[in-house]
């Protein structure tokens, strides 16, 4: 459908959200734990960025940091977040507040717990409109109905008086999307918006988000652990591991030509509908690291089949290598580099990698 | 002007003939009159004299059996009913005549100490009333001055039966009931036509403050003007206040452990004497912060015979060696365990647990193990009422009512007063004492009578049926500007004389 927009030589649109060298830490400054490290990405106007990674790799923390919603015990200890060129750290609490909802909006993972259980959905949706945008109750109500219609909730007017628990999971997720887009945000951040849903409903919701993004011209950051979801929705993909981005680039590039051993391993570890059914999976051995005790060097080295002595000592930088066109990887081995076609020792013996 | 009296306990219903505690009887004195009153206008030690009240005068027949009272004229009850002989007769009907419509079982039993002497009563004419006794009894006028023999309006008596009367007290006294807040507070208004002259204060308020500290604070802060019965701590706390004065009434009373003549050990007089020698009464006085004086014998200060008895009636002193010697003489094998009942609280018994501890310590020093059993006051009374069981060695108790009269010795020590008839619950019996008391009872020569009582008391002291302990000095705290409360030897106050500067 939008194959052209992400083609290699397309010029990327002007950036709305720029994150550079972001670090999120918990605990006292002496014994702090960095759950997000050196994370940088740029989302252009109308663009869709997918952030993928396993549980605990820091996806949500990154986005909470961007939105200024880290819990009291956490903090941004380094790096910068810019929204439309404006450094968010320079904003007053009040300015930041008014940026939320209008500049950036969030759709969170669990739709039941993301809606206030003791307020009707109408009240929740209309709240910022009435209290911050000075809309009349009537106008706000009309706008809510319009929004619910937009996300495909039948009988919207009648649903305004419902409490969240009276709606099914799919409907709640739609309500959440409606509330998120109610301020016409420039950036919509969706943190695992479909994990709790059935596949059929997931497909609908993803389509809905995609469609709204196009219609409203929003930029989208979608966080997920499901590679399939990203493949369908995102233009750009960032793969995170242990708090760091290990590979990023256009969706096509990442899926057709994954360069980081982790990205590759991830793709091979899951059964896929488009592959022979009997193919034996090649799981990634071991477990993701505990952020309190990060491994030395490259965080992935204990699980990497292509590990080299250097990997244990030195943390590689996220760099273009020779991939070009914004495709960045964080690997000192870079086994699939074009200039490095001779197989590295270990690939041949490991077997499963194609 | 208003005078507020602080009460250390909840205010009971105001039916004087049913009430036993001093809290209620104290208030009764403000509302009611008796036929004969105690003259509280003079301070100083000694039992107050008796004076005419509703009875202007009285005479005794030669056989000592018939008392004739000439009643005061022109007195009316607060409800307008005229006071006359018929009214007095109705009051006695309430206590004596089971056929009468006003007869009250409870009042009758409460007043038994008086009515047991009376064979019959009669209203001769409007101003003349006679009481015929079962046997000669010279102490009758003093008994009639007891607050519980207050004369109640016959109209009220007919109107309010049972408990109700206590909530509608109607008497001839200096004050009449204005408002009543159950248990907590009571307001009395002056009776303008009072026969002893209009009282000097308009209102009298009685307020129950059951916490002693709070009562003292109320006194400090001016909420209350009089604490009629103060504790040692209250006296200490309040004596520093410039506008308050402390008054010691030294009315007759005694506190003791009554011993069981039927129980092991205590049936032996030597053992009882040993106990009396073993206790350090100075410690007890110290415990009461000087508000109590040691009393090692049966005759309290303020009794009719106190002066006479001095030096004649033995007072035990602290002599543990002697106690040990006596115990050795009996040849008791230690440890000897004594089981004694004691109230755990109640007016007059606030320090009971502490007192028991002290005595325990003293007795332990001579090899006697005292095991006090603390009970609610009422529980204790109902336990001991039929007389001590054989496994109980005695109980801590006190005696205030009528302790000024020599007749109190008969009430406490005569064998005729053993349960169920009386309060000789320790089963004390001494024929000699009984004989002396019986003679004294009808003896009309005051000097002879007194001498007989002194003899009896001396015998009693020798027999030591009690472990004599102490006498409460009954201190009062009064605001300086409140006048007319004299240090007469009585727990009561003559409210008709109270005034405020």
């Amino acid at each position: 459908m939008n194959a052209i927009s992400t083609s290699m030589d397309a010029v990327r649109p002007s950036p709305v959200l720029e994150v550079s060298d972001l670090r999120v830490s918990y605990g006292s400054t002496l014994r702090s734990v960095h759950v997000v490290n050196d994370v940088s990405f740029v989302v252009g106007r109308g663009e869709a960025l997918g952030i993928v990674g396993e549980s605990g790799c820091g996806k949500s923390q990154t986005m909470l940091a961007v939105l200024g919603l880290l819990p009291a015990s956490g903090r941004i200890s380094a790096g910068k977040v810019k929204f439309e060129g404006q450094d968010l750290a320079a904003l007053s609490a009040r300015q930041f507040r008014s940026l939320r909802g209008k500049g950036m909006a969030l759709i969170s993972q669990d739709a039941l717990s993301a809606l206030n259980p003791s307020m009707t959905i109408g009240t929740q949706m209309a709240e910022p409109m009435i209290h911050y945008d000075g809309m009349s109750r009537k106008a706000a109500r009309d706008r809510c109905i319009e929004l619910l219609d937009l996300v495909g909730i039948p009988g919207a007017a009648a649903r305004l008086g419902a409490y969240p628990h009276e709606l099914s999971g799919g409907m709640r997720q739609r309500v959440l999307i409606a509330t998120a887009i109610s301020g016409n945000p420039k950036v919509l951040i969706a943190d695992e918006p479909t994990t709790a849903l059935d596949v059929t409903i997931q497909a609908q919701i993803l389509r809905l988000i995609d469609q709204l993004r196009r219609e409203l011209g929003m930029a989208l950051v979608i966080i997920t652990h499901d590679l399939g979801v990203v493949a369908g929705v995102a233009d750009q993909v960032a793969v995170m591991y242990a708090g760091r981005v290990v590979e990023s680039g256009s969706t096509d590039a990442i899926f057709s030509e994954p360069r980081h051993p982790y990205t590759r391993a991830l793709l091979e570890a899951i059964p896929k509908l488009d592959e022979p059914a009997d193919k034996r999976l090649t799981p990634i051995a071991g477990l993701p690291p505990d952020p309190r005790r990060p491994p030395s060097g490259c965080a992935f080295h204990p699980r990497c089949r292509l590990v080299q002595p250097a990997c244990r000592e030195q943390l590689p930088a996220l760099e273009a290598k020779d991939a070009g066109n914004g495709h960045l990887i964080r690997c000192s081995v870079d086994p699939w580099a074009r200039s490095n076609m001779a197989p590295v020792r270990g690939i041949a013996t490991s077997g499963g990698v194609s | 002007a208003t005078v507020t009296i602080g009460s250390e306990a909840a205010l009971p219903p105001l039916d004087p003939q049913r009430t036993t505690g001093s809290v209620g009887l104290r208030i009764a004195g403000a509302i009611f009159d008796t036929l004969i009153r105690e003259d509280l206008s003079k301070g100083g030690s000694g039992v107050p004299d008796i004076a005419p009240a509703l009875a202007e005068s009285w005479s005794v027949s030669d056989d000592g059996l018939t008392y004739t009272f000439k009643l005061r004229k022109g007195v009316t009850f607060h409800d307008g009913t005229a006071f006359d002989a018929q009214a007095v007769q109705t009051n006695f009907d309430r206590l004596l005549n089971k056929e009468s419509a006003v007869f009250d079982e409870r009042a009758s039993s409460t007043m038994a100490f008086l009515t047991r002497w009376i064979a019959s009563s009669k209203a001769v004419d409007a101003e003349t009333f006679t009481l015929t006794l079962k046997e000669a009894f010279s102490g009758l006028p003093r008994l009639l001055s007891d607050r519980s023999m207050s004369i109640i309006s016959p109209a009220a008596m007919e109107k309010y039966k049972g408990d109700e009367l206590g909530f509608h007290p109607v008497g001839t006294g200096p004050f009449k009931l204005a408002t009543l807040e159950q248990g907590q507070a009571l307001t009395l208004a002056r009776n303008d036509g009072y026969w002893r002259g209009t009282p000097k204060v308009e209102t009298l308020v009685f307020k129950a403050v059951t916490d002693p500290t709070a009562l003292a604070i109320a006194m400090q802060t001016g909420v209350i003007d009089v604490i009629p019965s103060a504790s040692a701590e209250q006296v200490t706390q309040l004596s520093a206040e410039p506008d308050l004065k402390v008054q010691y009434t030294d009315a007759a009373n005694f506190y003791f452990i009554r011993l069981n003549m039927k129980a092991e050990y205590t049936k032996d007089a030597r053992f009882r004497q040993a106990l009396n020698y073993a206790v350090n009464r100075d410690f007890i006085a110290a415990l009461f912060g000087g508000q109590a004086v040691p009393r090692g014998g049966p005759v309290p200060t303020g009794n009719e015979i106190t002066a006479l008895a001095a030096g004649t009636v033995k007072e035990y002193n602290y002599d543990p060696e002697k106690a040990k010697a006596l115990l050795a003489e009996i040849g008791l094998k230690a440890p000897v365990t004594l089981k004694v009942l004691a109230p755990n609280n109640g007016p007059g018994f606030g320090l009971s647990p502490q007192l028991m501890t002290l005595i325990q310590q003293d007795l332990a020093a001579v090899g006697v193990d005292l095991q006090p059993q603390l009970l609610e006051f009422t529980t204790m009374i109902s336990t001991e009422r039929p007389g001590y069981a054989d496994d109980v060695h005695g109980s801590y108790n006190g005696w205030v009512t009528g302790a000024g009269s020599a007749y109190v010795f008969e009430r406490l020590f005569a064998s005729s007063q053993q349960p169920p008839k009386g309060v000789n619950r320790g089963w004390y019996q001494n024929a000699d004492v009984d004989a002396k008391l019986a003679t004294a009872r009808s003896e009309r020569d005051e000097a002879k009578r007194a001498a007989l009582y002194v003899d009896a008391a001396a015998k009693v002291a020798e027999d030591a049926p009690y472990l004599f302990l102490y006498q409460d000095r009954l201190p009062r705290v009064i605001r300086s500007n409140v006048k007319g409360i004299e240090a007469a030897a009585s727990v009561y106050i003559d409210f008709s004389q109270v005034s405020v500067d």
């Binding site: 206030n116 259980p117 301020g183 | 907590q184 916490d211 009422t378």
Partner: protein, 314 residues
């Protein structure tokens, strides 16, 4: 909602029934002969026997219980021995005083407790949060009668600012009543205040950490609105439960407080009743307070349901 109320109301019936049985049994094990106290020491045996019969003391235990129930139904709680009045009258005249004290205390405890808890929860880990935690811990661990004595010591004895006993003094009046109420109310409220503050703090922290509060923030809702319109209403059910339980404790805590401050309520009457073995009054007082407790719980459950949309609709 109606059916919920009805169901809940039906549930209280067996409980109240059980409560009457329990109070009855309590009186059965209390030693002491009521005739002693009623008639005084000098009464005759036949008078005693008569009274026993009149009181139904000669019947079997079951017979006595049935008589007791029958009397209860007619509003007859028996005759108080110390007050020489029907127990119902004694309790009725004092119920308002206790209710007044308990009500003032629960209002004070709720308002201050919720305010303090909220104040602490807004900045968890801050100095004020810690200070408050310590205060709450102290209030939570202090015997109320001791606190009462300390207050008497401070305000009555040292500062001589406030009256320390009874309900009124002098001519009374509202201000006078308030002055008398202050210390007992504070004493009675202290423990509940601590419990309410604790619960408010912890459930508010729970709610503030919840997903929907974060979502509300992500939509640009201000802190003030978050706390008062999003967090507090959702923290309320837990707080209300605690407040409800506290009401029951306040009624019983009144025994200690009323004793210390000579407050003429049911608690003081019960204390006096206990020291004089006034069985009917003890029985009546316990029954009344227990039933009040049951009814309060009933009300709280309804309130709880009201705040919880999931039950409201059921």
């Amino acid at each position: 909602m109606l059916s919920f109320i009805a169901r809940r109301a039906l549930q209280t019936i067996p409980v109240i029934f059980g409560v009457t049985l329990a109070t009855f049994l309590l009186s059965q094990i209390i030693p002491g002969d009521p005739t002693d106290i009623l008639l005084g020491p000098g009464a005759s045996e036949e008078a005693r026997a008569q009274l026993r019969q009149a009181l139904g003391l000669d019947r079997s235990a079951l017979g006595q219980y049935l008589l007791y129930l029958q009397n209860l139904v007619h509003g007859d709680f028996g005759q108080s021995l110390t007050f020489s009045k029907p127990v119902s009258e004694v309790l009725a005249s004092r119920m308002m005083n206790t209710a007044l004290l308990a009500f003032a205390a629960i209002v004070l405890a709720s308002v201050l407790g919720v305010a303090a808890g909220t104040f602490a929860a807004l900045k968890p880990g801050s100095l004020r949060d810690r200070a408050l935690t310590v205060v709450v811990l102290f209030l939570n661990s202090m015997p109320s009668f001791w606190l009462g004595l300390l207050l008497i010591l401070a305000f009555g004895l040292q500062l001589r600012l406030l009256p320390v006993s009874g309900m009124t003094s002098g001519d009374g009046g509202f201000v006078n009543l308030l002055a008398h109420m202050l210390l007992p109310t504070l004493t009675l409220a202290a423990w509940s205040l601590a419990a309410i503050a604790r619960m408010t703090r912890s459930s508010l922290l729970d709610v503030i950490g919840s997903d929907y509060v974060r979502t509300a923030r992500s939509r640009g809702i201000g802190e003030w609105r978050i706390v008062f319109f999003h967090a507090l209403p959702n923290a309320m059910p837990a707080v209300i439960t605690v407040i409800g339980m506290q009401m029951g404790f306040l009624l019983s805590g009144a025994v200690m407080t009323e004793t210390v401050f000579s407050w003429p309520g049911i608690g003081l009457a019960m204390y006096q009743a206990i020291s004089t073995r006034d069985i009917p009054l003890i029985q009546g007082g316990i029954l009344l307070l227990a039933v009040a407790f049951v009814l309060i719980n009933f009300t709280i459950d309804i309130l709880y349901a009201y705040f919880n949309p999931k039950i409201k609709l059921a």
